[in-house]
């Protein structure tokens, strides 16, 4: 800051007779609160634009022209302003507004979920009139009406604060709930046949200041005073949204978003918010199981661990593989890396399932934080999945930055995304050619615009010209039907831009923790390569091991004796279903460490060890920025399920090694010693970063090198496949959540309507999609957001899995679409 000396950088306001210093531009309601005076409010929400509607925050303000009642949520502080929040006039206005709000309020608090945590209740007690003067009949509406599959609306309780509608319109961009009618009949509602089907609907329930909006998973489940809570981290995706986990009688009942300034601002996707239902599911694995005569049967821990040790003992380390680990806490991941690499001596460990990015692309490039990406005036280039489908809370942050803070967004994505309508430029390269487009964009920045990847030069030039300020590249796999090398090459090209930083868009919960803890071939804890060694390990493999695809290939050819599935489901997730099936079938012993049975476990595991869920263990998670935050145990695991790190420690012990891990804290202490980048992760730092987390930066991993791969041209009769993830799919966790299970749309093939004519097909027609690898049947859908020549099929959708079409060894997948 270049503040002129002597010039005051604050604004002096007299608040109830006391002079306070406020920040220029700060709203009066915030300045007062920071100085200990809470002004009552209903419509104001610090993360949304003020509307000044409820009038609860009226206070007497004198800006030089005499005192007048002003909504403190609308007016910025001014030098010399005098504010009286306790004057007669203020009190009368607050009383009056509360009385108005209450006259038509049903006062059904005893049966209202909000009772006990209701701002209307609380403020009535604190600021309101004692009794009602209203003798007429109250306003009546049909009691709660479902406005979506998850959310119920009770219009009688609604105080029309515009929070939910503002959230839907301004924050999520899902304009599905509206004010209707006028005057005293004003109400919130949806239009007929347009339900509030938003990935973010749960936020409206959280911010509703009364019990007008309730969500199915929590309705009538508990009273606020019966809830215990702790601050923790959402585990469904890699944003690492901060949450409050609330439980009662050893059951998690609700998650609320916590306003972490650097992460989720209090918002959550519904998947993050309601995902806990899966943890309470009846399907949870509660005891170890062993396959007897082809069927999984419950057993005890002792025999199960003995069987596992038997399988692992005296095996050539090169013939052991571990796939998965992104579900685990950092501490459990460390323990498993130590077991695999330090005890078993295998480097065949991969937390990603062939649908992610090589370590170098994540840890070897300069990184950016969410707040850096969202700093006003900067540019974000998206080379990755649709954040709206993959990383909900990140989507909301990016959307806010673009809409409100002048962030320029340039998309280099195979199809339109949830951000396209607000993006400055949406360029859609041919699948498999985003590297060429990225290089062309960089060329255009230096004045040499040319056509690339099917995108015309002028569009690329315009996008290049719009770049302002430092660039953040949001980097991930937009489509698992094209090889990771293409994305990596694009990243390498974009890394030439000045001041560029990369924000990883790898999706799985704690996948970034897994990489930091060494769960990838060639890697050790602390973002260091194998050759750096690790003093805390008895041994370190000398040869770089296999990744998931290579492990499955080895297993398929009978070269893997033991395969550990650490919370992974290759059959559903590996973008080559055929390879996954052959690999699992060909592997010697398959040991699954799991919370819930999945397709791979059920069909192929020989041994299943039940693991504890994120709400059942203490530990930490690392988000896509590298930010470490706590996950705290709130409930106990079901049955005899155990924390993953304990399972690793037990196995090590039985193999004659001592991992030396006693507790998550002791593991963290060891991590801080082993990993220089984690040295700052002390218990004090974690406690101080209870809300914001602790950002880990620095890395010894080298930048990726260009793959040199080129994408072959496709023939005129085929379409190029785009396989992209949707928010709701057939994923195990989602399907185990009662209120989300039905939300996944069944599989369909989406084409640009101009391709319909060429193929002589129509929307709705059931087609057969054939690739060199396999085929599937699905109905056709039309969308101009899919470029001509491409075919979009969501991954892991109910119906058929697009992975059956994909060959992991090919750089792109071409398909033919025929009438079935």
């Amino acid at each position: 800051m270049t503040a002129v000396e002597n010039e005051k950088s604050t604004v002096t306001v007299t608040l109830n007779g006391v002079e306070i210093e406020a920040n220029p531009g700060e709203l009066l309601i915030d300045a007062a609160e920071r100085h200990g005076t809470y002004i009552p409010r209903f419509c104001y929400h610090s993360r949304m634009k003020s509307v000044g509607m409820c009038r609860m925050c009226l206070v007497e303000v004198d800006s030089g022209r005499g005192p007048a009642l002003q909504p403190s949520c609308m007016i910025p502080v001014g030098e010399g302003m005098t504010v009286d929040t306790e004057s007669e006039a203020t009190k009368k206005a607050q009383d009056g507004v509360l009385e108005f709000l209450l006259i038509n309020h049903p006062l059904d608090c005893p049966v209202c979920d909000k009772g006990g945590e209701c701002p209307l209740q609380d403020q009535t007690v604190a600021f309101g009139p004692g009794e009602s003067r209203f003798v007429e009949e109250k306003r009546h509406y049909e009691k709660p009406i479902p406005i979506s599959d998850t959310v119920y609306l009770d219009r009688e309780r609604c105080i029309l604060c515009d929070r939910c509608t503002r959230f839907a319109d301004d924050v999520a961009g899902d304009t599905l709930i509206h004010f209707m009618d006028r005057g005293n009949s004003t109400q919130v509602n949806t239009f007929p046949d347009e339900p509030f089907a938003s990935y973010f609907s749960g936020n409206t329930v959280q911010i509703c200041p009364v019990g007008a909006l309730t969500a199915k998973p929590y309705r009538f489940k508990a009273r606020p005073w019966d809830l215990e809570e702790t601050i923790s981290t959402a585990w469904i995706d890699s944003v690492g949204s901060r949450v409050t986990i609330q439980s009662s009688r050893n059951q998690v009942l609700r998650l609320l978003g916590v306003d972490a300034d650097s992460v989720n601002w209090g918002w959550l996707s519904d998947k993050e918010r309601f995902g806990f239902e899966a943890l309470n599911s009846e399907d949870r694995l509660t005891a170890p199981m062993v396959r007897v005569d082809g069927r999984l049967e419950a057993t005890g821990w002792a025999p199960a661990l003995a069987a596992a040790t038997d399988a692992l003992r005296d095996v050539d380390p090169a013939r052991i593989g571990v796939i998965g680990g992104a579900r685990l806490t950092n501490e459990s991941q460390y323990a498993w890396t130590k077991l695999a690499k330090g005890v078993l001596g295998t480097d065949n460990v991969d937390a990603q399932l062939g649908d992610g990015l090589p370590v170098e692309a994540v840890l070897g490039l300069p990184r950016a934080t969410i707040n850096q990406a969202c700093t006003p005036g900067r540019t974000v280039i998206l080379v990755g999945p649709d954040p709206k489908e993959d990383l909900g809370a990140l989507f909301l942050r990016l959307r806010h930055a673009v809409v409100n803070d002048g962030t320029t967004l340039i998309e280099l994505t195979p199809t339109r995304t949830g951000l396209s309508t607000i993006a400055a430029h949406s360029l859609h390269p041919k699948p498999g050619e985003v590297d060429l487009l990225a290089a062309a964009l960089v060329d255009a920045v230096s004045g040499d615009a040319h056509d690339a990847a099917g995108v015309p030069a002028n569009a690329i030039a315009a996008a290049a010209a719009s770049i302002s300020g430092p660039v953040t590249v949001v980097l991930g796999r937009a489509s698992v039907a094209e090889s990771a090398a293409v994305t990596v090459d694009a990243a390498i090209a974009l890394s030439q831009l000045e001041g560029v930083g990369f924000l990883s868009a790898l999706r799985r919960g704690n996948v970034h923790g897994a990489l930091d803890m060494g769960m990838a071939p060639g890697l050790l804890p602390g973002r260091v390569p194998l050759r750096a060694g690790c003093d805390a390990f008895d041994q370190v493999p000398t040869e770089v091991g296999m990744d998931t695809i290579a492990m499955l290939e080895a297993a398929a050819s009978g070269d893997l004796d033991v395969l550990v599935l650490l919370g992974s489901d290759p059959l559903s997730d590996v973008p080559d279903a055929d390879l996954a099936e052959r690999g699992l079938a060909g592997a010697g012993t398959v040991i699954a460490v799991e919370m819930l049975p999945n397709a791979s476990t059920l069909t192929h595991a020989d041994l299943v060890l039940p693991a504890a869920a994120p709400t059942e263990v203490d530990g930490t998670f690392t988000n896509l920025e590298g930010r470490v935050s706590v996950a705290e145990q709130k409930v106990t695991p079901p049955g005899t399920a155990r924390a993953d790190w304990m399972i690793a420690a037990e196995l090590a012990l039985r193999l004659g090694a001592d991992l030396g891990v006693e507790s998550p804290e002791s593991i963290r202490a060891e991590i801080a010693v082993v990993s220089p980048v984690h040295a700052k992760l002390t218990e004090t730092a974690l406690a101080d970063g209870r809300v914001e987390g602790v950002l880990i930066s620095g890395s010894s991993i080298e930048a990726p090198t260009a793959s040199g791969s080129t994408t072959p041209a496709n023939d005129a009769y085929s379409l190029r496949l785009v396989a992209a993830r949707r928010m709701y799919d057939n994923g195990t966790m989602l399907q185990a959540s009662a209120s989300s299970a039905g939300l996944a749309a069944s599989v369909k093939v989406t084409l640009n309507p101009t391709d319909f004519e060429k193929l002589g097909l129509d929307a709705g027609t059931v087609v057969k999609v054939i690739s060199g690898r396999g085929e599937l049947m699905a109905p056709l859908a039309a969308d101009f957001g899919v470029p001509a020549g491409s075919a979009m099929i969501p991954t892991n959708a109910p119906g058929s899995n697009v992975n059956t079409l994909i060959d992991a060894s090919a750089s792109v997948t071409d398909v033919r679409v025929e009438r079935a």
């Binding site: 509607m53 409820c54 009056g96 507004v97 007429e136 006028r182 009949s185």
Partner: protein
């Protein structure tokens, strides 16, 4: 006694010997056509404006002191000066939503002389250097919409609107739109929201007035139909001629719409600030007295939102500041007259109900308070009143519009006037408008309320307090 007839094709308009600044063409049956307009000095004001610099034209309007006719009475020339320089594009929005109870003069201007309004818009656009104007017409006025549409087509065809107007470098597009039927979109910020395609709800001002941040976030001038209709005459005749009409503080003429219990209700163009309410209600030239020679009980001096006046205020001139100091406003120039047969409580209910139904629902005190008021009044009229109701009504009113509410002096009770405007806990003045009938009637006719509440009977009243005997047209 001279006979003044209603002009048949200009319903309600009375052609008397008053000023003819904006109503000069109403006598012609084809006043809405370009042909008639051109034959009666039409587009001459624009022609003269185009010969001068924009700043000069702006100066002319400022010098003339053209007070806004939409309600607030703010001088147009001064408002125009509030637009921040260099923040193009600017917009002009014409407020043709006329829905203030009792008001029906903008409608005549739009139906009978649309070209005059269009010319006024063009002069404004020229003076302010803007090239896009929106004409927003009330949803329920199809004739005004049609005539304006027709006039715009003619004006476009003849090169008065569009590119290179009258062969000059000056280009303007005028877009005609209309509302969906809501009083509140007459409020300028709600009108802007509606124009943008949103639900018509007011924006909070301050901090930002439309002149600074308006339509699509750009500086926007919102003017009333009548305000702009004055400009062609002004540009032809000059500000000195203009100021020869009216009073010092309120120059020019003004259209007023009188309704209720007078012998000849109608729209009159009067000398602003000169003509008194007594002239207007009793003058031969005007309304010719109260029907059946009844006593005047009360009248609303400036549209449904204005606090009420009583016989003591009859000698006040129709002048904004004077009326404001006496506790009401001239507002939209609608005078509603009620004679001795009127039930004060019923009359109050009639207006309160209007505001309750038209509340946009955005802010709590208005959304909840106006309907509460309505229901209490209805209950009193239904014979279910409670003694506490009167104070409750006043207190609810105070929670919508805190502090002493503007009201006329009442010499019989030794009470002074409380000057306009009211304070508000609401976003816009609609909520406080609902208070006017209540405080006006309770202060003056508390006994009528008490009679209804304690005796639970009502004094004999007419069925429809606002109607008058049918008037012969022709």
């Amino acid at each position: 006694m001279p006979t003044y007839d209603y002009v048949p094709h200009a319903p309600g308009y009375v052609d008397n010997d008053g000023p003819k600044i904006v109503t000069s063409r109403f006598v012609h049956e084809d006043s809405h056509t370009l042909e008639r307009y051109e034959a009666t000095n039409g587009y001459e004001g624009l022609r003269r404006a185009l010969d001068r610099t924009p700043a000069d034209v702006h100066e002319e309007v400022r010098d003339a002191v053209v007070l806004g006719r939409g309600g607030a009475g703010f001088p147009a020339g001064v408002k125009w000066g509030f637009m921040p320089p260099g923040k193009f594009p600017y917009y002009l929005v014409v407020n043709g939503d006329e829905s203030e109870p009792g008001t029906y003069k903008d409608r005549l201007l739009m139906e009978r002389d649309p070209h005059q309004l269009i010319e006024g818009c063009l002069i404004t656009c020229y003076a302010l250097g803007l090239s896009q104007c929106f004409l927003y017409v009330r949803g329920e006025m199809p004739a005004a919409q049609e005539n304006l549409a027709q006039a715009l087509n003619e004006a476009y065809a003849k090169g008065y609107v569009g590119k290179n107007i009258m062969g000059t470098e000056f280009s303007v597009d005028i877009t005609l739109t209309w509302g969906a039927g809501a009083y509140i979109v007459g409020e300028e910020t709600a009108l802007i929201e509606s124009l943008e395609g949103n639900r018509g709800m007011p924006r909070l001002k301050p901090p930002f007035f439309p002149a600074a941040i308006g339509l699509y976030g750009q500086p926007t001038i919102v003017n009333n139909v009548e305000t702009l209709s004055n400009l062609p005459w002004l540009l032809v005749n000059g500000f000195e001629q203009y100021k020869a009409h009216g009073s010092e503080a309120s120059p020019g003429s003004r259209m007023v719409a009188v309704s209720g219990h007078v012998n000849r209700p109608g729209v009159y163009e009067i000398e602003q600030g000169v003509t008194t309410f007594r002239d207007l209600l009793y003058g031969d030239n005007f309304c010719r007295g109260i029907r059946n020679d009844n006593e005047l009980k009360m009248f609303v001096p400036g549209g449904g939102s204005a606090p009420w006046f009583f016989p003591e205020q009859l000698d006040l001139p129709l002048e904004g500041r004077t009326v404001g100091a006496e506790g009401s406003m001239l507002g939209s120039g609608a005078i509603m007259v009620m004679d001795e047969t009127t039930d004060a409580v019923k009359a109050a209910l009639r207006l309160v109900r209007f505001y309750a139904r038209e509340s946009c629902g955005k802010c709590t005190p208005c959304r909840e308070g106006t309907t509460w008021e309505e229901r209490i009044l209805q209950r009193i009229l239904d014979g279910e009143g409670r003694p506490s109701d009167i104070d409750k009504l006043l207190d609810i009113a105070d929670n919508i519009s805190p502090g002493p509410y503007p009201v006329a002096a009442d010499p019989s009770q030794g009470l002074d006037a409380v000057p306009f405007p009211p304070k508000q806990t609401t976003i816009c003045p609609l909520g406080p408008s609902s208070v006017a009938p209540i405080t006006s009637t309770i202060r003056r006719f508390r006994h009528e309320y008490e009679a209804k509440i304690t005796k639970r009977d009502s004094i004999p009243v007419m069925a429809a307090p606002m109607s008058s005997d049918p008037v012969e047209v022709g």
